[in-house]
Protein backbone atom coordinates (compact mmCIF):
# COMPACT_ATOMS: atom_id res chain seq x y z
CA UNK A 1 0.00 0.00 0.00
CA UNK A 2 2.68 2.44 0.97
CA UNK A 3 4.73 1.60 -2.11
CA UNK A 4 1.63 2.20 -4.26
CA UNK A 5 1.27 5.60 -2.71
CA UNK A 6 4.93 6.39 -3.31
CA UNK A 7 4.63 5.34 -6.94
CA UNK A 8 1.63 7.58 -7.37
CA UNK A 9 3.53 10.51 -5.92
CA UNK A 10 6.48 9.82 -8.23
CA UNK A 11 4.07 9.75 -11.13
CA UNK A 12 2.29 12.99 -10.24
CA UNK A 13 5.60 14.72 -9.61
CA UNK A 14 6.34 15.05 -13.33
CA UNK A 15 2.82 16.07 -14.19
CA UNK A 16 2.41 18.87 -11.73
CA UNK A 17 5.01 19.81 -9.13
CA UNK A 18 8.06 19.28 -11.34
CA UNK A 19 6.39 19.83 -14.69
CA UNK A 20 9.25 19.83 -17.22
CA UNK A 21 7.83 22.66 -19.34
CA UNK A 22 6.38 25.07 -16.79
CA UNK A 23 8.46 24.46 -13.68
CA UNK A 24 11.83 23.19 -14.81
CA UNK A 25 11.74 24.97 -18.21
CA UNK A 26 13.58 22.13 -19.92
CA UNK A 27 13.34 20.89 -23.48
CA UNK A 28 12.46 24.31 -24.79
CA UNK A 29 13.48 23.82 -28.40
CA UNK A 30 10.85 21.26 -29.41
CA UNK A 31 8.38 22.92 -27.05
CA UNK A 32 8.44 26.17 -28.95
CA UNK A 33 9.22 24.94 -32.43
CA UNK A 34 6.50 22.37 -33.02
CA UNK A 35 3.61 23.85 -31.06
CA UNK A 36 2.10 25.79 -33.96
CA UNK A 37 -0.90 23.46 -33.85
CA UNK A 38 -2.45 21.18 -31.26
CA UNK A 39 -2.01 18.02 -33.31
CA UNK A 40 1.72 18.65 -33.83
CA UNK A 41 2.11 19.30 -30.12
CA UNK A 42 0.31 16.09 -29.22
CA UNK A 43 2.35 13.93 -31.59
CA UNK A 44 5.60 15.47 -30.42
CA UNK A 45 4.57 14.88 -26.80
CA UNK A 46 3.74 11.24 -27.44
CA UNK A 47 6.96 10.63 -29.36
CA UNK A 48 8.97 12.13 -26.50
CA UNK A 49 6.93 10.08 -24.00
CA UNK A 50 7.82 6.86 -25.82
CA UNK A 51 11.54 7.66 -26.02
CA UNK A 52 11.61 8.81 -22.40
CA UNK A 53 9.97 5.69 -20.96
CA UNK A 54 11.92 3.22 -23.12
CA UNK A 55 15.32 4.78 -22.55
CA UNK A 56 14.77 5.21 -18.82
CA UNK A 57 13.77 1.54 -18.58
CA UNK A 58 16.88 0.43 -20.45
CA UNK A 59 19.21 2.77 -18.55
CA UNK A 60 17.76 1.50 -15.30
CA UNK A 61 18.21 -2.15 -16.33
CA UNK A 62 21.83 -1.51 -17.28
CA UNK A 63 22.61 0.82 -14.39
CA UNK A 64 24.96 -1.67 -12.71
CA UNK A 65 26.83 -2.48 -15.95
CA UNK A 66 27.46 1.05 -17.25
CA UNK A 67 30.86 2.36 -16.11
CA UNK A 68 30.60 5.74 -14.46
CA UNK A 69 33.12 7.46 -16.74
CA UNK A 70 31.25 6.83 -19.98
CA UNK A 71 27.71 6.96 -18.66
CA UNK A 72 26.61 10.12 -20.47
CA UNK A 73 27.84 8.79 -23.82
CA UNK A 74 26.08 5.50 -23.15
CA UNK A 75 22.82 7.25 -22.27
CA UNK A 76 22.98 9.31 -25.43
CA UNK A 77 23.53 6.26 -27.61
CA UNK A 78 20.60 4.50 -25.92
CA UNK A 79 18.38 7.55 -26.42
CA UNK A 80 19.51 7.95 -30.04
CA UNK A 81 18.55 4.33 -30.72
CA UNK A 82 14.99 4.84 -29.53
CA UNK A 83 14.71 8.14 -31.37
CA UNK A 84 15.70 6.39 -34.58
CA UNK A 85 12.90 3.89 -33.92
CA UNK A 86 10.37 6.69 -33.40
CA UNK A 87 11.65 8.55 -36.45
CA UNK A 88 10.99 5.58 -38.74
CA UNK A 89 7.70 4.81 -36.96
CA UNK A 90 6.25 8.26 -37.55
CA UNK A 91 7.44 8.19 -41.14
CA UNK A 92 5.54 4.92 -41.61
CA UNK A 93 2.36 6.08 -39.87
CA UNK A 94 1.91 9.52 -41.37
CA UNK A 95 4.21 11.13 -43.90
CA UNK A 96 2.35 14.42 -43.55
CA UNK A 97 3.00 14.57 -39.83
CA UNK A 98 6.61 13.56 -40.42
CA UNK A 99 7.08 16.51 -42.76
CA UNK A 100 5.38 18.90 -40.35
CA UNK A 101 7.63 17.93 -37.45
CA UNK A 102 10.70 17.78 -39.67
CA UNK A 103 14.10 17.54 -38.04
CA UNK A 104 12.56 18.03 -34.61
CA UNK A 105 11.78 14.33 -34.30
CA UNK A 106 15.47 13.52 -34.55
CA UNK A 107 16.24 16.41 -32.26
CA UNK A 108 14.43 14.55 -29.45
CA UNK A 109 17.90 13.08 -28.84
CA UNK A 110 19.11 16.36 -27.44
CA UNK A 111 16.00 17.04 -25.39
CA UNK A 112 17.46 17.83 -21.97
CA UNK A 113 14.50 16.24 -20.19
CA UNK A 114 15.41 12.74 -21.33
CA UNK A 115 19.11 12.94 -20.52
CA UNK A 116 18.23 14.67 -17.26
CA UNK A 117 15.86 11.88 -16.22
CA UNK A 118 18.33 9.18 -17.22
CA UNK A 119 21.09 10.80 -15.19
CA UNK A 120 19.09 12.02 -12.19
CA UNK A 121 16.60 9.22 -11.72
CA UNK A 122 16.84 6.11 -13.91
CA UNK A 123 20.52 5.50 -13.14
CA UNK A 124 19.72 5.20 -9.42
CA UNK A 125 16.38 3.39 -9.30
CA UNK A 126 15.03 -0.05 -10.31
CA UNK A 127 13.25 -0.30 -13.68
CA UNK A 128 9.65 -0.03 -12.46
CA UNK A 129 10.23 3.13 -10.42
CA UNK A 130 12.25 4.64 -13.27
CA UNK A 131 9.49 3.93 -15.76
CA UNK A 132 6.80 5.39 -13.51
CA UNK A 133 8.81 8.55 -13.02
CA UNK A 134 9.55 8.77 -16.74
CA UNK A 135 5.90 8.26 -17.62
CA UNK A 136 4.89 11.10 -15.30
CA UNK A 137 7.48 13.39 -16.86
CA UNK A 138 6.43 12.36 -20.36
CA UNK A 139 2.78 13.10 -19.66
CA UNK A 140 3.70 16.38 -18.00
CA UNK A 141 5.71 17.33 -21.06
CA UNK A 142 2.81 16.40 -23.36
CA UNK A 143 0.42 18.52 -21.30
CA UNK A 144 2.83 21.45 -21.47
CA UNK A 145 3.13 21.12 -25.24
CA UNK A 146 -0.64 20.89 -25.62
CA UNK A 147 -1.17 23.99 -23.47
CA UNK A 148 1.04 25.91 -25.87
CA UNK A 149 -0.22 24.26 -29.06
CA UNK A 150 -3.89 24.82 -28.25
CA UNK A 151 -3.45 28.52 -27.45
CA UNK A 152 -1.27 29.16 -30.48
CA UNK A 153 -3.57 27.31 -32.87
CA UNK A 154 -6.73 29.01 -31.60
CA UNK A 155 -5.23 32.50 -31.73
CA UNK A 156 -3.05 32.09 -34.77
CA UNK A 157 -5.26 30.07 -37.07
CA UNK A 158 -8.72 30.12 -35.46
CA UNK A 159 -8.89 26.33 -35.41
CA UNK A 160 -8.47 23.51 -32.88
CA UNK A 161 -7.17 20.14 -34.09
CA UNK A 162 -7.93 21.45 -37.59
CA UNK A 163 -11.61 22.24 -36.86
CA UNK A 164 -12.57 25.87 -37.49
CA UNK A 165 -13.87 27.49 -34.30
CA UNK A 166 -14.96 30.90 -35.48
CA UNK A 167 -16.95 32.21 -38.42
CA UNK A 168 -15.49 33.21 -41.76
CA UNK A 169 -14.86 36.73 -40.53
CA UNK A 170 -12.25 35.67 -38.01
CA UNK A 171 -8.99 37.45 -38.63
CA UNK A 172 -6.21 35.11 -37.46
CA UNK A 173 -3.52 36.58 -35.25
CA UNK A 174 -0.75 35.29 -37.49
CA UNK A 175 2.09 36.30 -35.21
CA UNK A 176 1.03 33.56 -32.79
CA UNK A 177 2.02 30.75 -35.16
CA UNK A 178 5.27 32.53 -36.08
CA UNK A 179 8.37 32.21 -33.88
CA UNK A 180 7.74 35.29 -31.65
CA UNK A 181 4.32 33.89 -30.74
CA UNK A 182 5.94 30.82 -29.22
CA UNK A 183 8.05 32.94 -26.88
CA UNK A 184 5.11 35.16 -25.95
CA UNK A 185 2.68 32.33 -25.21
CA UNK A 186 5.16 30.38 -23.08
CA UNK A 187 6.12 33.60 -21.30
CA UNK A 188 2.46 34.30 -20.62
CA UNK A 189 1.89 30.81 -19.18
CA UNK A 190 4.90 31.21 -16.90
CA UNK A 191 3.62 34.61 -15.78
CA UNK A 192 0.25 33.08 -14.97
CA UNK A 193 1.82 30.30 -12.92
CA UNK A 194 4.10 32.73 -11.10
CA UNK A 195 1.11 34.92 -10.24
CA UNK A 196 -0.86 31.92 -8.93
CA UNK A 197 2.09 30.77 -6.88
CA UNK A 198 2.50 34.20 -5.30
CA UNK A 199 -1.17 34.37 -4.44
CA UNK A 200 -0.97 30.97 -2.79
CA UNK A 201 2.03 32.06 -0.73
CA UNK A 202 0.32 35.27 0.33
CA UNK A 203 -2.76 33.33 1.43
CA UNK A 204 -0.62 30.98 3.46
CA UNK A 205 1.16 33.88 5.12
CA UNK A 206 -2.18 35.52 5.99
CA UNK A 207 -3.51 32.31 7.47
CA UNK A 208 -0.40 31.94 9.55
CA UNK A 209 -0.79 35.49 10.84
CA UNK A 210 -4.42 34.92 11.73
CA UNK A 211 -3.51 31.73 13.55
CA UNK A 212 -0.79 33.48 15.49
CA UNK A 213 -2.86 36.44 16.60
CA UNK A 214 -5.88 34.28 17.35
Amino acid sequence: MSSDKRNWEEFMEGIWRQNPVFVMVLGMCPTLAVTVSAINALSMGLATFFVLVCSCALVSLLRKQIPKEVRIATYIVIIATFVTVVDYLIQAISLKLYEALGAFIQLIVVNCIILGRAEAHASKHPPLAAMINAAGMGIGFTIGLLALGVVREILGAGTLFGVALFGAHFQPWVIMVLPPGGFFVLGAWLLLFAALERRKQRRRAEQLEVAQHG
Binding site: V25, L26, M28, C29, P30, L32, A33, I72, A73, I76, V77, A80, T81, V83, T84, D87, Y88, G102, A103, Q106, L107, V109, V110, N111, C112, L115, I175, L178, P179, P180, G181, G182, F183, F184, L186, G187, A188, L190, L191, A194, A195, R198
Partner: protein, 192 residues
Protein backbone atom coordinates in the same frame (compact mmCIF):
# COMPACT_ATOMS: atom_id res chain seq x y z
CA UNK B 1 17.80 26.63 -57.51
CA UNK B 2 20.94 25.98 -55.52
CA UNK B 3 21.52 28.68 -52.93
CA UNK B 4 24.82 30.48 -53.12
CA UNK B 5 27.25 30.23 -50.24
CA UNK B 6 26.71 33.88 -49.29
CA UNK B 7 22.94 33.44 -49.27
CA UNK B 8 23.20 30.46 -46.95
CA UNK B 9 25.46 32.37 -44.59
CA UNK B 10 23.20 35.43 -44.37
CA UNK B 11 20.11 33.26 -44.03
CA UNK B 12 21.55 31.26 -41.15
CA UNK B 13 22.88 34.42 -39.51
CA UNK B 14 19.82 36.68 -39.69
CA UNK B 15 16.69 35.67 -41.56
CA UNK B 16 16.57 32.13 -40.18
CA UNK B 17 18.50 32.86 -37.01
CA UNK B 18 19.01 29.57 -35.20
CA UNK B 19 17.78 30.78 -31.85
CA UNK B 20 15.16 33.37 -32.63
CA UNK B 21 13.55 31.93 -35.74
CA UNK B 22 14.24 28.20 -35.60
CA UNK B 23 14.19 27.64 -31.83
CA UNK B 24 17.48 25.78 -31.73
CA UNK B 25 19.76 26.04 -28.73
CA UNK B 26 17.32 27.66 -26.34
CA UNK B 27 18.71 26.09 -23.16
CA UNK B 28 22.06 27.90 -23.27
CA UNK B 29 20.30 30.94 -24.72
CA UNK B 30 18.19 31.25 -21.57
CA UNK B 31 20.80 29.84 -19.21
CA UNK B 32 24.06 31.62 -20.08
CA UNK B 33 22.69 34.96 -21.28
CA UNK B 34 22.76 36.55 -17.84
CA UNK B 35 26.17 38.15 -18.25
CA UNK B 36 27.96 39.44 -21.33
CA UNK B 37 31.31 38.07 -20.10
CA UNK B 38 30.14 34.49 -20.34
CA UNK B 39 27.70 34.88 -23.22
CA UNK B 40 30.30 35.74 -25.84
CA UNK B 41 32.80 32.93 -25.05
CA UNK B 42 29.90 30.50 -24.90
CA UNK B 43 28.85 31.61 -28.37
CA UNK B 44 32.37 31.19 -29.71
CA UNK B 45 32.78 27.74 -28.15
CA UNK B 46 29.45 26.65 -29.58
CA UNK B 47 30.36 28.01 -33.00
CA UNK B 48 33.57 26.02 -32.94
CA UNK B 49 31.76 22.81 -32.00
CA UNK B 50 29.21 23.51 -34.73
CA UNK B 51 31.96 23.90 -37.31
CA UNK B 52 33.65 20.65 -36.27
CA UNK B 53 30.33 18.83 -36.11
CA UNK B 54 29.30 20.11 -39.50
CA UNK B 55 32.54 19.02 -41.19
CA UNK B 56 32.46 15.59 -39.51
CA UNK B 57 28.79 15.16 -40.34
CA UNK B 58 29.54 15.89 -43.98
CA UNK B 59 32.22 13.20 -44.12
CA UNK B 60 30.18 10.73 -42.07
CA UNK B 61 27.17 11.19 -44.30
CA UNK B 62 29.21 10.33 -47.41
CA UNK B 63 30.60 7.27 -45.66
CA UNK B 64 27.27 6.02 -44.30
CA UNK B 65 25.49 6.60 -47.61
CA UNK B 66 28.10 4.62 -49.50
CA UNK B 67 27.57 1.68 -47.13
CA UNK B 68 23.75 2.11 -47.12
CA UNK B 69 23.74 2.61 -43.36
CA UNK B 70 21.56 5.74 -43.25
CA UNK B 71 19.70 4.51 -40.17
CA UNK B 72 22.90 4.89 -38.16
CA UNK B 73 23.19 8.57 -39.09
CA UNK B 74 21.69 10.01 -35.93
CA UNK B 75 23.76 7.84 -33.58
CA UNK B 76 26.97 8.56 -35.50
CA UNK B 77 26.35 12.31 -35.46
CA UNK B 78 25.70 12.49 -31.75
CA UNK B 79 28.82 10.50 -30.91
CA UNK B 80 30.94 12.83 -33.05
CA UNK B 81 29.43 15.89 -31.41
CA UNK B 82 30.03 14.51 -27.93
CA UNK B 83 33.70 13.94 -28.80
CA UNK B 84 34.06 17.45 -30.23
CA UNK B 85 32.63 18.93 -27.05
CA UNK B 86 35.05 16.88 -24.98
CA UNK B 87 37.89 18.35 -27.05
CA UNK B 88 36.73 21.95 -26.52
CA UNK B 89 36.35 21.25 -22.82
CA UNK B 90 39.91 19.97 -22.50
CA UNK B 91 41.35 22.90 -24.45
CA UNK B 92 39.45 25.45 -22.36
CA UNK B 93 40.41 23.76 -19.10
CA UNK B 94 44.07 23.96 -20.09
CA UNK B 95 44.19 27.50 -21.47
CA UNK B 96 41.48 29.36 -19.57
CA UNK B 97 40.49 27.76 -16.26
CA UNK B 98 38.55 30.85 -15.19
CA UNK B 99 36.35 30.73 -18.24
CA UNK B 100 36.03 26.97 -17.80
CA UNK B 101 34.57 27.50 -14.34
CA UNK B 102 32.33 30.37 -15.44
CA UNK B 103 30.67 28.29 -18.15
CA UNK B 104 30.22 25.46 -15.68
CA UNK B 105 27.58 22.90 -16.45
CA UNK B 106 26.68 24.58 -19.72
CA UNK B 107 29.94 23.52 -21.33
CA UNK B 108 29.31 19.75 -21.39
CA UNK B 109 25.72 20.62 -22.21
CA UNK B 110 26.84 21.88 -25.63
CA UNK B 111 26.53 18.20 -26.51
CA UNK B 112 22.81 18.45 -26.00
CA UNK B 113 22.57 21.83 -27.68
CA UNK B 114 20.04 21.29 -30.43
CA UNK B 115 21.73 23.94 -32.54
CA UNK B 116 24.79 21.74 -32.99
CA UNK B 117 22.88 18.59 -33.92
CA UNK B 118 20.49 20.82 -35.87
CA UNK B 119 23.31 22.02 -38.13
CA UNK B 120 24.29 18.44 -38.90
CA UNK B 121 20.71 17.30 -39.51
CA UNK B 122 19.60 20.28 -41.59
CA UNK B 123 22.63 20.21 -43.85
CA UNK B 124 21.98 16.53 -44.50
CA UNK B 125 18.28 17.07 -45.14
CA UNK B 126 18.98 19.95 -47.54
CA UNK B 127 21.82 18.06 -49.26
CA UNK B 128 24.32 20.89 -48.97
CA UNK B 129 27.73 20.35 -50.55
CA UNK B 130 30.96 20.96 -48.68
CA UNK B 131 31.21 24.73 -49.10
CA UNK B 132 27.53 25.18 -48.37
CA UNK B 133 27.80 23.13 -45.16
CA UNK B 134 30.73 25.26 -44.08
CA UNK B 135 28.82 28.50 -44.69
CA UNK B 136 25.75 27.10 -42.95
CA UNK B 137 27.59 26.13 -39.79
CA UNK B 138 29.58 29.38 -39.63
CA UNK B 139 26.46 31.48 -40.23
CA UNK B 140 24.49 29.47 -37.71
CA UNK B 141 27.22 29.79 -35.10
CA UNK B 142 27.59 33.51 -35.68
CA UNK B 143 23.81 33.90 -35.48
CA UNK B 144 23.75 31.98 -32.20
CA UNK B 145 26.52 34.18 -30.78
CA UNK B 146 24.73 37.31 -31.98
CA UNK B 147 21.47 36.29 -30.32
CA UNK B 148 23.27 35.36 -27.10
CA UNK B 149 25.18 38.66 -26.96
CA UNK B 150 22.08 40.75 -27.73
CA UNK B 151 20.11 38.94 -25.05
CA UNK B 152 22.89 39.27 -22.48
CA UNK B 153 23.22 43.00 -23.15
CA UNK B 154 19.50 43.54 -22.65
CA UNK B 155 19.45 41.47 -19.49
CA UNK B 156 22.41 43.32 -18.01
CA UNK B 157 20.59 46.60 -18.53
CA UNK B 158 17.40 45.17 -17.08
CA UNK B 159 19.08 44.39 -13.77
CA UNK B 160 19.08 48.11 -13.09
CA UNK B 161 15.43 48.61 -13.86
CA UNK B 162 12.39 48.04 -11.72
CA UNK B 163 10.66 44.91 -12.97
CA UNK B 164 7.43 43.69 -11.33
CA UNK B 165 8.36 40.86 -8.98
CA UNK B 166 5.94 38.45 -10.58
CA UNK B 167 7.64 38.78 -13.98
CA UNK B 168 11.16 38.13 -12.69
CA UNK B 169 13.12 35.24 -14.13
CA UNK B 170 12.33 33.02 -17.04
CA UNK B 171 9.03 34.65 -17.93
CA UNK B 172 10.80 37.97 -18.46
CA UNK B 173 13.56 36.35 -20.53
CA UNK B 174 10.97 34.69 -22.73
CA UNK B 175 9.12 37.95 -23.34
CA UNK B 176 12.44 39.61 -24.25
CA UNK B 177 13.26 36.76 -26.59
CA UNK B 178 9.86 37.21 -28.21
CA UNK B 179 10.51 40.88 -28.85
CA UNK B 180 13.99 40.14 -30.23
CA UNK B 181 12.45 37.47 -32.41
CA UNK B 182 9.91 40.00 -33.72
CA UNK B 183 12.82 42.25 -34.64
CA UNK B 184 14.60 39.46 -36.48
CA UNK B 185 11.46 38.79 -38.52
CA UNK B 186 12.28 42.06 -40.22
CA UNK B 187 15.23 40.32 -41.88
CA UNK B 188 12.94 37.85 -43.67
CA UNK B 189 13.72 37.60 -47.35
CA UNK B 190 17.16 39.12 -46.94
CA UNK B 191 18.95 35.97 -48.06
CA UNK B 192 16.67 35.51 -51.08
Amino acid sequence: MAESVAQIFVNALLANNFVLAMFLGLCPFLGVSGKLDTAFPMGVATTFVMLVASLCAYGLNLLLTSFHLEFLRLIAYIVVIASAVQLVEMVLKKYSPALFRALGIYLPLITTNCAVLGVALFQTAREYDFAQSLAFSLGGGAGFTLALVLMASVRERLQLSDVPAVAQGTALSLMLAGILSLGFMGFAGLGG
